[in-house]
Structures are given as structure tokens and as C-alpha cells.
């Protein structure tokens, strides 16, 4: 593999992209490398474009923290942990919440991966909170859309294309995000059940009950977790409703609940992740039972339940039966790096034209698509 490129300015990045285009080479933009799944820098002929250096010269990679306006603008290389700490001092919270082990992740990488945290059930996915961004496309063109405002409909929202694009189309250089008020009180409750299937059933009940409205709601193996955040009096009242359902408090102290939720909701290592309507979540978990139901993690939110399997902990000989999974209406949201299943665009025509416009020579690559299910089945026993 070629040596990584480590540009420290936008001009150097543009130069690198133009050079790669001229050489018909591929670039894989990476942040801290905590979530490389869809595109991989070790692909043949690809060069890593390390964007972590883009934070240099600015405090914690922060371009502007508009505290009175509740927004922040960041260099792509800004570390999520640094940013979270910076805004905490101003009474704000950054979403997504990431587990402590991913604190070194860069905001550019988080955007590319389209990552969301366990607060998504209450606040929505990360892509809803991107106010605008600047990116360099595969022709070396630097373009900007949106702005730094919480409300703004000036021009087309190109930034929404880049979030979750895994570094294809272009590399994010700078981004503005909406911040949320840090809650006055925050608690995390849990209940141990006899397995993931039961835990998911309780999570769905809590979701359907609507009162209280949880800030966090997820399943980790046999345990269901529900978090509350907001005004103290309300959190205390809502907590009693959780206690009545048999849940018990697991964390206390400033930010401890949020940190525990972030750590607990995101399994380490490679995962399979599936999305399905909440009302079909139980069917999906049944379809996955063959792969070892006790390893299942799940998150529930409006319109979407995500079910996550730890790929490195599948029992020997077991497998993900993609046909059975898809029969429940579920989709593969992400797969372990060695498996290629995702990326089936519902509108291949538009996607093809977009890639041709923004990256005509494939400098930023195109994700591999749809491998046969037989290869996917083998993933369960693949040693890592």
C-alpha cells in the first residue's frame, strides 16, 4: 500500500485530489479510522487521505463555537471527544454521543460514516443536525452548501448527500452542527431479562407506551436500557414509571449516564446492522435467532428499529441468513468489513449520475455492492 497522504491545508488536499485524478489513482479519506467498513484504504491501488491534520492551528479543531446561537463549526479533523468537552463548558451537548473508545474519532469521519448515538431515539440521526458543510469533490472542486444557521433553506442541501456517503463523492473539509442544551438531569436505567428477544420486547413496549419519552432506549444482550434526560423534576417523575416496570438505576454522576449509554449501546468491533420497522422488530430477531440471539443488540426509534449483531462473536458454524432477514422487511444497514452486502441504491440512475458529476474518475471510489448471500453466510465463522 502507498504511504498515507497527510495534508494540512485545504490547498494541499485539492492538490492531492487533482494529482490522484491525473494519475487515475484512488483516495480513501479517513479520520481516525475507527469505523472503516464500506470503503477500505487497503483496497488495491488506493491511497489513504488522512484528514486528521485538518484540525491543526485551531483550538480543538473548532472554527467557531457560536455559544449564544447554539451552533458550532468544525474542521473535519476535529476530535469528537475534544469537541464534546468544549461545548460542555458552554452548557451544550454534541450529538451523536460516541463511546469513550471512539473519542479520538474525527467529526469528518463520523459524518462520512453517518454514525449516530443512542440519543438518536430522542434527537434523530446526525444528518438532521448538519447545518452546512464544505467539501472537496473528485475533481478538486471545493464547494459549500447550507450555512451556520439553525434554520436556512438557501440553495440545494448538498451537505445531506455527503453525510453517510463513506467518503465517496468527496471529502468533508468543514462542517457546521446544531448543538443541544445539556440536560439538567440525566439517568440511565436497566433491566436484566432472559435474553435479547425478551429485552427487545420490553424496549418496544417502552417505545409504544410513549410516557415517559426516553432519551436513550436500547438493548444489549439480555439487558434493556432506558435513559431519561431533561428537567430534574420531570426526570424524577418519569424514573418512577421505569421503576414500576422493574428497571433499576445503573449510573449516576455528571454525564455518567450519557457516557454509559454511549458505551453500552455500541458494541466494539465489527457488526452486522439491520434496519426494520419497529412493529417488525420481533420477527427480525426471530430470523436472527439462528445466529445466536444472545448476541443481539437493538435500538428503537420512530420509524426504525436497528438490530445489531457482533460479527466477531457469532457462534462457530452459525450464520446470518440474509434471505430470512430480508423476508421480514429488514435491510442490511452495515456489514463487517470483509463482507460486501449493502449499498443497493433504490435509485441507481440518480446515484450513478451524481457520482459521475462529482467524481467522474472515481478518485473517491464507489462502494462495492451486493455480493452473493453465500459469501455473507460465511461471515459467521470467519476468523478475525
Amino acid at each position: 500500500m502507498n504511504a498515507p497522504l497527510r495534508p494540512e491545508s485545504i490547498a494541499e488536499i485539492v492538490e492531492a485530489v487533482r494529482a490522484a485524478r491525473a494519475d487515475r489513482a484512488r483516495l480513501v479519506p479517513v479520520g481516525a479510522g475507527t469505523a472503516l467498513t464500506v470503503l477500505r484504504p487497503d483496497a488495491e491501488g488506493a491511497r489513504t487521505l488522512d484528514l486528521a491534520g485538518l484540525a491543526r492551528g485551531a483550538t480543538d479543531g473548532v472554527v467557531e463555537y457560536a455559544r449564544g446561537d447554539g451552533t458550532i463549526t468544525l474542521h473535519a479533523g476535529a476530535r469528537v471527544g475534544d469537541v464534546a468537552r468544549a461545548v460542555r463548558a458552554g452548557g451544550h451537548r454534541l450529538t451523536p454521543l460516541l463511546p469513550a473508545r471512539d473519542e479520538a474519532a474525527t467529526i469528518g469521519g463520523v459524518l462520512g460514516a453517518g454514525a449516530s448515538g443512542p440519543d438518536r431515539v430522542a434527537l434523530g440521526p446526525l444528518r438532521h443536525h448538519v447545518l452546512g458543510l464544505t467539501f472537496v469533490d473528485g475533481t478538486g472542486r471545493v464547494a459549500r452548501s447550507g450555512g451556520r444557521l439553525v434554520k436556512n433553506v438557501t440553495g440545494f442541501d448538498l451537505h445531506r448527500l455527503l453525510v453517510g456517503a463513506h467518503g465517496t463523492l468527496g471529502a468533508v473539509l468543514e462542517v457546521s452542527l446544531r448543538l443541544f442544551p445539556a440536560p439538567e438531569e440525566e439517568v440511565l436505567y436497566a433491566l436484566e431479562t432472559d435474553g435479547a428477544r425478551s429485552a427487545a420486547t420490553i424496549a418496544l413496549e417502552l417505545f409504544g407506551a410513549r410516557q415517559p419519552l426516553p432519551r436513550y432506549l436500547f438493548v444489549r444482550g439480555p439487558r434493556v436500557f432506558a435513559g431519561l434526560a431533561g428537567r430534574r423534576a420531570q426526570v424524577e417523575r418519569d424514573a418512577r414509571a421505569l421503576v414500576d416496570r422493574g428497571l433499576r438505576r445503573v449510573e449516576q454522576g455528571e454525564d455518567a449516564a450519557a457516557r454509559a449509554a454511549a458505551d453500552g449501546s455500541t458494541p466494539p468491533g465489527p457488526v452486522w446492522s439491520f434496519g426494520v420497522r419497529p412493529s417488525r422488530c420481533s420477527s427480525l430477531m426471530d430470523a436472527l435467532a439462528d445466529a445466536g440471539a444472545s448476541l443481539v443488540d437493538a435500538l428503537v426509534e420512530p420509524g426504525l428499529a436497528r438490530v445489531v449483531l457482533r460479527a466477531d462473536a457469532l457462534p462457530d458454524g452459525s450464520a446470518v441468513d440474509l434471505a430470512a432477514v430480508r423476508a421480514t422487511g429488514a435491510r442490511v444497514l452495515s456489514a463487517p468489513p470483509e463482507v460486501r452486502v449493502g449499498g443497493a441504491s433504490t435509485a441507481p440512475l440518480f446515484e450513478r449520475r451524481l457520482r459521475a458529476a462529482f467524481d467522474p474518475d472515481g478518485v473517491f471510489g464507489v462502494p462495492a455492492r451486493d455480493v452473493p448471500a453465500s459469501r455473507a453466510r460465511a461471515a459467521g465463522s470467519a476468523p478475525r
Binding site: R127, D137, L169, G303, L304, R306, T346
Partner: protein, 495 residues
């Protein structure tokens, strides 16, 4: 040559359209054409050659194929309540309206989504969700008329978007008819997130002003109706103090669901109208604030809001949780634009955004810009979001006054951009703000946006002549018709 001739409708094509949508669904008479010549942007008008009103996605797709064959371009249209000319033609062609696509197709209580046809009126969607204890959050002032399809086109907001966010945060998927008459399902209840490596195509479609395709069905997220809602009417002796109080609420991280400001002239117009919200006559400005959530949370937030409000000079605070009382207070706000009809025949509604720390500064600019030109200004602000609506009363029959209105509006937009704000918060660029796009975006930014447009619509079939500024002679072929009245900002804008 501002206008590019397009094909005209042949008799056989008209018959073909009628065969698809029925005789009632095709109109080309003078009366119908004049009804579709403009939207809420009254400064310019041009009629479509034909109006087609399909009843379903399938009919819409067939209609598009006929129109395309005829060489006509298409303006998609909801209820025509937009304020920037986005829903009216620039060079003839067809208008495809969603007025007959009003079915709520599905409401899923457990999964919390609804699927509707694009012509469903905003309030009808919330009414359909109500029996499930759910509601649809975006609530534009025009919500009794505007359609979900139009809301998608403009990424519409409304007072409660302060807490819940604009339309983009609530759209899970759309059904799109492209310029070949092909139907695409983007996102939807079973694909809230794009698959790994696939692009989020729903995201950029929301707010694309009808320029990427015709949205015929929309899947939206629904939210649980809050347990408790309290409305606060806060009275001030000056608009500046009212603005400062709101900036302070944002800076102190308070979380009401809506923060609106109405100034004295607006209050007078509302009180003189049938709406009579009971806004007191002795206030120079009122803030209308809503707090939603669990009862204990509402108690705590409302108390904090009142404290900050009084600290910044509020001389009275009225608080109510009574449904009928709340409705009365909100009727004044939602009907404010209509009530302004008492002051002058026409109302120019500006729609600009400022950082929330600078509300007072932009109000001052608007006041100066109008006073210097002898114009009557009133202010309504979605203050919590930094979205200002300086409203200028005028008479469109007076060309000199119209010129002054356009000049004042341009000055306000420039001041917002200079202050780190933007041209539009919820009504889009349309025809009105094309030239000003160059204040916000550079050539590369605009070229990239054009690339997005071409990816969906390579031939400029959908809503041509909108949003993009004309930057060079070579672009004139794609230029819109100029607004029919001279644009006085021509020299000072240095285009």
C-alpha cells in the same frame, strides 16, 4: 431573450391528457390559467399554457410522458401559498398540480409514520394522526391551505420548528416522478436510513423547490402528542427589548417549542380583524411562547422563560394551559398575514434569517430601510429560529412604491447575509432571490448545486428558471423572465 419558447399543447396531446386524468383534470381556459399565474409572490405573474391535475402517482407519471413528448416544461404546484414565485411558470409550459391528490394512504401508530399523497393539506395530516395520539410537527402559518408536497419542496417550517426542526427532519421518504415519467421510491418506512454506501437522496430532495422532480407521495414521521402544553403571552414596551429577551432565552439554553414575536402594527391589525386574539393594545411587541412536554418539565421551563422575559423588561406575562385560550392566542399569530390586508391592499413578506444573537440588529436595519423609503413596516418573527418576517404593506398598482419595496427587501437581505445570516428561512429562493444567491454562494458552490440538479433532471424539465442566478451571458438561455417591474438594486448590487 429572457424567455425560451417551449412547445405548445396540441389537440391530440390535450386529448391524451384528458384520457389519463379525465376532462376535469385538464384546464387551459383563460380563467384557470389566470388562477395559476402566480403564488404568494404577487410582484410577478405568468400563466401556464395548461394545468393538469392528476389523481395518483401512476396518472402523474403518464401525464409527464405526454407533456415531455409535447416539449413542454413543468412547474409542480401544491396550494400556491409560497412567497417567492416558486410555483408559477417563467415561460409557459404546464403546471402539474396536486390538488386532486389528497388521500392519507396510511397511518402507522406503532411505527409512528404516515404516508400521504402530496396534495394532502398540512392540517389534514395532523387531523388524521390525532386519533392515534400523534401529530405532524411542521406547522407553517398557511397550514390550513398548504400541502405536504409543497412543504417538501420548500423544506417548510412554522412556529414549532424551533423545537422539532423543519420538514427535512420529518420526511422519511418520497415517491418521485422523474422527467422521463419514471417512478422512484426514495427512502420510505422500510428504509429510513440509506443502506451502507448508498447516498441519502431524500435529504437533498427536501427543499429542492420542485426542480428535481415531481413528488407525488410522502412518508413522514409522527410524534406523540405532548402531555402538557402551556402558552405564554409576554408583553413588552419595545420591540428591541422583546428581541433581546429571546436572544437571552436561546443563550441560556431554554427549550420552549415555539418563540414568536409580533410587533405593534401587527397586533393592531390582528385586533382590528375578526381574529381578535386579545393581544393588549398597550404593548409595542409581544412574544408568543409555547412550552410542551411532561407536566413537571413544562412547569420548570415556563417558569424560567418568565424569569428571563421579566429580566429583559416584560411588563406582563399571561400564561394559559386552557385549550380554547391557547387556540385564540395562536389564531392571532397564524392569521397575522391575512389581517395585514386591513392596512394596505398588498403585503410583501420578507423571509430572512439572522444568527439568534442579532435579532435586534436586523429589525433595526428593516426599520431604517423602510423609513428611508416611506414604507409601512410590520414585523413577525419566528424569533426562536432567528427567522424574521419583516412585512411591507404596499399597493401593487403603484409602480414607484413597488420599486421601493424591492429596494428595501434587498437591503434587508444584504444586511442578513453580512451579519452571518441567510436569504431565506422557509420559503425558498424561487424567482425572488435568484440574484442574491451570489451574495451567499460562489461559482463553485452554485456549479455543484447545478450538478445535483442535472443528476435528477438533465434537460431542465422541472420548474426551469428558478433558484439559480444568471452569472454570465452564456447562461441567459437558461435565465428566467425578469420580474416584470424594474429591479432597482441592479447597480448597487454590483452583479
Amino acid at each position: 431573450m429572457g424567455s425560451q419558447p417551449t412547445g405548445s399543447l396540441s389537440k391530440s396531446a390535450r386529448r391524451a391528457l384528458a384520457a389519463i386524468v379525465g376532462e376535469r383534470g385538464v384546464r387551459a381556459d383563460a380563467l384557470a390559467r389566470s388562477a395559476y399565474e402566480s403564488d404568494g409572490f404577487a410582484l410577478a405573474a405568468e400563466s401556464p399554457e395548461v394545468i393538469v391535475l392528476p389523481r395518483s402517482t401512476e396518472e402523474a407519471a403518464r401525464v409527464v410522458r405526454v407533456l415531455r413528448e409535447e416539449g413542454l416544461v413543468v412547474v409542480p404546484r401544491g396550494a400556491g401559498t409560497g412567497l417567492t414565485g416558486g410555483a408559477r411558470p417563467t415561460r409557459g409550459g404546464a403546471t402539474v398540480g396536486t390538488a386532486r391528490m389528497r388521500d392519507v394512504l396510511e397511518v402507522s401508530e406503532l411505527d409512528r409514520f404516515a404516508r400521504v399523497q402530496a396534495g394532502v393539506v398540512n392540517v389534514h395530516l395532523t387531523a388524521a394522526a390525532e386519533p392515534c395520539g400523534l401529530f405532524y410537527a411542521p406547522d407553517p402559518s398557511s397550514q390550513t391551505a398548504c400541502t405536504i408536497g409543497g412543504n417538501v419542496a420548500n423544506n417548510s417550517g412554522g412556529p414549532h420548528c424551533f423545537k422539532y426542526g423543519t420538514t427535512a427532519r420529518h420526511v422519511l421518504g418520497v415517491t418521485l416522478v422523474d422527467s422521463d415519467g419514471e417512478v422512484h421510491e426514495l427512502g420510505g418506512p422500510d428504509q429510513v436510513d440509506p443502506d451502507a454506501g448508498a447516498l441519502d437522496l431524500v435529504g437533498p430532495l427536501v427543499g429542492s423547490e420542485g426542480m428535481l422532480g415531481l413528488v407525488t407521495e410522502v412518508t413522514v414521521a409522527l410524534l406523540p402528542v405532548p402531555e402538557t402544553v402551556e402558552t405564554l403571552l409576554v408583553l413588552y414596551e419595545s420591540l428591541d427589548a422583546c428581541c433581546d429577551a429571546v436572544s437571552a432565552m436561546i443563550a441560556e439554553n431554554l427549550e420552549p417549542s415555539a418563540i414568536e414575536i409580533l410587533d405593534r402594527l401587527t397586533i393592531e391589525a390582528v385586533e382590528a380583524s375578526v381574529l381578535r386574539a386579545g393581544y393588549p393594545a398597550n404593548a409595542e411587541a409581544v412574544a408568543l411562547i409555547e412550552v410542551e412536554g411532561g407536566a413537571a418539565e413544562v412547569d420548570a421551563i415556563a417558569a424560567d422563560v418568565e424569569t428571563v422575559a421579566r429580566k429583559h423588561g416584560a411588563f406582563d406575562v399571561e400564561r394559559t394551559r386552557d385549550g380554547a385560550e391557547r387556540k385564540r392566542l395562536w389564531a392571532g399569530r397564524k392569521g397575522a398575514f391575512g389581517a395585514m390586508g386591513r392596512i394596505a391592499p398588498d403585503l410583501y413578506v420578507a423571509d430572512v434569517v439572522a444568527p439568534r444573537t442579532k435579532l435586534r440588529d436586523i429589525v433595526a436595519v428593516a426599520t431604517r430601510a423602510c423609513a428611508a423609503r416611506g414604507l409601512k413596516l410590520s414585523n413577525v418573527l419566528h424569533a426562536g429560529d432567528g427567522n424574521l418576517h419583516p412585512n411591507i404593506s404596499y399597493d401593487r398598482r403603484d409602480p414607484d412604491e413597488v420599486e421601493r419595496v424591492v429596494a428595501a427587501a434587498t437591503e434587508i437581505m444584504r444586511a442578513c447575509v453580512d451579519a452571518g445570516g441567510s436569504l431565506t428561512g422557509e420559503h425558498g429562493v424561487g424567482l425572488e432571490k435568484q440574484a442574491e444567491m451570489c451574495l451567499v454562494f460562489g461559482d463553485d458552490d452554485l456549479d455543484a448545486m447545478k450538478d445535483l440538479r442535472r443528476a435528477f433532471d438533465p434537460t431542465g424539465f422541472w420548474n426551469p428558471g428558478k433558484l439559480f442566478p444568471v452569472r454570465a451571458c452564456r447562461e441567459v438561455a437558461h435565465a428566467p423572465l425578469p420580474v416584470q417591474l424594474p429591479h432597482p438594486g441592479g447597480t448597487e448590487k454590483g452583479r
